[in-house]
Symmetry: C2
Amino acid sequence: MIRDLRICFVGDSFVAGAGDETALGWVGRVTAAAWQRGVALTAYNLGVRRDTSADLRRRAEPEVLARLLGAGDAKAVVFGFGANDCTLEDDMPRVPPEASVENAVALLAWAAARWPVLMLGPPPLAHDAAHDARAAALSSRFAAVCEGMDIPFLDTHGPLSGIAAWRNGALRGDGVHPDGAGYAALAALVEQWPAWRNLTRP
Amino acid sequence: MIRDLRICFVGDSFVAGAGDETALGWVGRVTAAAWQRGVALTAYNLGVRRDTSADLRRRAEPEVLARLLGAGDAKAVVFGFGANDCTLEDDMPRVPPEASVENAVALLAWAAARWPVLMLGPPPLAHDAAHDARAAALSSRFAAVCEGMDIPFLDTHGPLSGIAAWRNGALRGDGVHPDGAGYAALAALVEQWPAWRNLTRP
């Protein structure tokens, strides 16, 4: 009997895989890779475009519970958000960094009390250098939060900033979201992440 | 500018693509095909394993609103459920057919008042002939409901019952859910469906 593992991926458009012409996104790619390793992974993709950490606090709890309650033994939650918090509206970020940290702590604490939890930081934003710098700074704050809570954190901003497939995909697409090649680069980072491999071991 | 279309797929494990080693399911396959036709389709997969029509009535509304409210002009909802309603527990279906019809009417009416709506009937259940017969009967009742509400309905039970890839995939897997080849057969039915092609035209 192969292992029945169910994971909710909670986050924004980058979790949803927006812009990916293959319809896989990074979540679909790492899910298919888990099947190849002999894990029957059910991936519930709860990424929503434009969602901030504040939006996630409103919907994550009922959506995750509807999928993981009473659903076998092996379950987990993977978070990925932050980019939309840093978007400016009327010269102010949609969610100020202090509130983003507070939201992250609340989301992570709720989930980690119930299941194994991992978190990905926001990826690079190729269309706007100032927005990108805010995302990098927020990623560092999230890394510190996760370290304090003993939750594995994957910095995607640093590595993807040096990968042409990510930036070029975004520039070919809507300017923000990469294409399938960009998501493949992000999926490769997740695949190499020991915390992910441990979570999805056969 | 290519067309920005966002669709919520609301349903059960067959909508979620459970058992598909490629992580695409039929939803991922028809989404990738839409991109190939020049439609930037954001697919929100809201399929949850074991969900009945009663479960969907509890969660569909907030989950769909969180994804479609204020999200551009082109939006739609596609439903697919019924198989779990017909599962016996203590010799009774989890949801009796009359309640399934009532739930379907409520879900369809709510969504159709806001967006274009399509519905797929439950697929064949290879593991249990009696369960399969109940699903076929429920599919016919859903077809009549949709006809009365002028909502396009796709019978998947009839066509897939004659397609070896569906049955063989289920028998190779957990007995209920097909593998990628089975989901590809279902995706091909959806791709040939005029209502789907009209919804996803470039």
